[in-house]
């Protein structure tokens, strides 16, 4: 995959405070890249550097092979931003807002009209083009916020918590839109505090804290950094006098089973995180003539990884 964004040894100091400390990561073309970190981790500073909103102390950042300092204007042309706040003008209609922000990238005339119409269509606001933001619901405003950031067809889109405060339907629509942007070839950097969103749409995820790089990879790779174990619970009915300890001991000899315990009518097993097939375990239980009344698995998720890597103290 082609490296589209390269952040190398980035350092940003505010006086004595180091907001970004020797941060390096790459984002590949056409992927949705999740950037996670607790409050004050340096996410915003990093994104501000990438968008040229902020300068930096040391290091380098390149977008599509262009240095963000030397080729600032060219880089700006291919970057779009969807900020966390609803950044639109209340006195302009949805269409006027989108047109205005697209015009800042040199679009005009029919091209501008077409781009605005496409952007509104993309976020499902075509029929609300003449509506002003104050007349819109929270979800509509969020979608308008996205339309304003993508109308000029940027190749790199930076989205900072674009789903804050929206209902489930709008969130679903927005997440599908982001995936559609990727499918159209755009590269997306996505930050959110909703871990399930990041899990759902991001191809790769980086976790940063205290301005430093902590980990980067796919969801599975990140989970494996923390734990390779998941919990399998089997609900059954043990006959009177059944040797539960012996039963668990035998189960533990099966492949992927790392240990377990049995109490009352429940067996809890620790199995390998990569285990996708429980048939051997179930087969063994059938041989023991134990009924299976229920099954559940508890896997470690991204939130557990995030807490494990960044700590649980409040920021």
């Amino acid at each position: 995959m082609k490296e589209f964004l390269a952040v190398k040894n980035l350092i940003k100091n505010y006086g004595d405070f180091c907001a970004v400390d020797d941060l390096s990561f790459s984002v590949y073309e056409g992927e949705i890249f999740g950037l996670l970190g607790p409050n004050g981790a340096g996410k915003s500073t990093t994104m501000n550097v990438i968008t040229s909103l902020s300068d930096f102390s040391k290091g380098s950042v390149s977008v599509n092979g262009m240095d963000i300092v030397k080729d600032k204007d060219k880089v700006k042309q291919i970057i779009g931003m969807v900020p966390q706040e609803i950044a639109v003008y209340p006195f302009l209609s949805a269409e006027e807002n989108v047109k205005f922000f697209a015009s800042l990238y040199g679009m005009s005339g029919n091209n501008l009209k077409k781009a605005a119409a496409e952007a509104l269509e993309f976020v499902g606001l075509s029929d609300r083009a003449k509506m002003k933001p104050k007349q819109m619901s929270g979800g509509m405003k969020r979608r308008l916020n996205i339309a304003c950031g993508i109308a000029h067809s940027p190749k790199l889109i930076i989205m900072d918590e674009p789903t804050v405060g929206v209902d489930a339907q709008s969130r679903e629509h927005i997440l599908n839109s982001i995936k559609a942007l990727r499918d159209r070839g755009a590269t997306v950097i996505y930050t959110s505090h909703y871990m399930n969103e990041v899990e759902a749409i991001c191809d790769r995820i980086a976790i940063i804290d205290h301005g430093r790089f902590i980990a980067c990879g796919t969801e599975r790779e990140l989970i494996s950094l923390v734990s390779d174990v998941k919990t399998l619970k089997i609900f059954t009915e043990f006959p009177a006098g059944f040797n539960k300890n012996g039963f668990v001991s035998e189960l533990s000899k099966l492949p992927d089973v790392k240990g377990g315990k049995a109490k009352e009518n429940e067996v809890t097993l620790e199995v390998s995180g990569t285990c996708r097939d429980f048939s051997l375990i179930l087969e063994y239980m059938r041989k023991q003539e134990l009924p299976i009344s229920g099954l559940s698995t508890e896997s470690i998720n991204l939130e557990d990884v995030f807490i494990a890597l960044t700590g649980s103290e409040l920021r």
């Binding site: 909103l53 900020p83 003008y89 209340p90 006195f91 800042l104 304003c148 950031g149």
Partner: protein, 366 residues
């Protein structure tokens, strides 16, 4: 940059409060202040008929003769009507019928005031001037009594009234002061809100990450506010002239000079506002600038022409602009106006350059 200019104009026209405070409000101020304060300033208009009773019973012969001569002169001019009475009658005059009573005691003049404050002031002014003139003659006579005998009296008044070519009213006064008010308030606050609005709407980052340079955004903000300035000035001048009958200059050329001064002062005020906003973008500029402007306007006589602090008011920019405007509208004198235009344009150029330098510094505190 054109988009930013057009957006600023749209922002102005789609804001009800903006339109109210910059177009409607000043026009209404001209009307109300002009109409109601016209009555307060009645002394500037007709004093009304003056009738005075007088007594010279106790005056010395020379003083009584001169005094009576003066009284008769006033009566023949139609300045006042007089009636000679005894001293007793003069002291107990009917204040419902007479404006005042004047008694000559030796060479001193005693005035018994009536009920009307304005008429009292007028009568006092008349006899003060008589007293001063008389003492000037006495001084001259003491030096060279013979010289006075050579003066030939033509019988005509020494005073010639020069008509300024127009009848001035308080409406005219407030038309000028309200125009100046809107220039300073409207322009400065518009300028000072240029970036604040972007911060309020969270659109500042969208502007800054776009391909439009910060300098172009800055100039777009300034240029985008200029049409508003023209509209503000035009609305005050047109509404005060067409709706309320106010007068500015007598000659069209002078009116153009007046408008040129208003525009140049507006540009200077606008640039100051934008610079303030650049330096302190998160301060709600209107809440800081508005009270300052009101104090400055108050001390410059914008709302009441008699309010003035000697040695201080003259140094206030609003006072200087008003003074230049009155010089131009009332006396057709252009010197102050030209000076104000030059100073304003220099101020505008310097501040715009300073702002451009400020925005070109690429940094942001987060």
């Amino acid at each position: 940059m054109l988009s930013i200019i057009l957006n600023s104009i749209r922002s102005y026209f789609r804001s009800g409060p903006n339109l109210f405070f910059t177009i409607f409000f000043p026009s209404v101020c001209v009307f109300f202040l002009g109409t109601f304060l016209e009555k307060v300033e009645a002394s500037d208009g007709a004093v009304g008929e003056l009738s005075v009773v007088y007594s010279v019973e106790n005056g010395d012969m020379f003083s009584a003769s001169a005094f009576e001569n003066f009284i008769h002169g006033l009566e023949s001019d139609g300045t006042l009507t007089t009636e000679k009475v005894s001293e007793m009658e003069a002291q107990n005059f009917d204040s419902d019928v007479c404006s005042a009573s004047v008694v000559l005691d030796g060479s001193d003049i005693v005035i018994y005031k009536g009920k009307d404050r304005i008429k009292n002031r007028t009568v006092k002014a008349i006899f003060d001037s008589y007293s001063k003139t008389a003492s000037a003659y006495m001084s001259a006579a003491a030096v060279d009594p013979m010289a006075l005998t050579g003066i030939k009296l033509s019988g005509e008044s020494f005073i010639q009234s020069k008509d300024l070519g127009t009848n001035r009213s308080m409406m005219d006064y407030y038309a000028v002061t309200m125009a100046v008010m809107i220039i300073f308030m409207g322009s400065c606050i518009s300028g000072a809100s240029a970036y604040t609005e972007e911060y309020d709407f969270f659109t500042i980052d969208r502007l800054n990450i776009s391909t439009v340079s910060k300098s172009k955004i800055y100039f777009g903000k300034i240029i985008g506010n200029m049409p508003m300035i023209i509209i503000q000035i035009a609305s005050v001048i047109l509404s005060s002239t067409l709706l309320f009958g106010a007068k500015y200059c007598n000659a069209p050329g002078l009116n153009l000079l007046l408008i040129a001064m208003f525009i140049s002062v507006s540009l200077a005020a606008l640039s100051v506002g934008v610079l303030i906003n650049l330096l302190w973008p998160k301060i709600p500029a209107p809440s800081v600038i508005t009270p300052l402007m009101w104090v400055m306007m108050f001390l410059s006589g914008t709302f009441q022409k008699d309010i003035h602090i000697n040695g201080f008011s003259e140094k206030l920019p609003i006072y200087a602009v008003q003074s230049a405007a009155f010089d131009l509208t009332v006396f057709s004198r252009t010197e102050k106006t030209v000076s104000v235009i030059i100073v304003s344009l220099i101020t505008f150029a310097v501040i715009v350059a300073a702002g451009a330098v400020k925005v070109s510094v690429r940094s942001k505190n987060i």
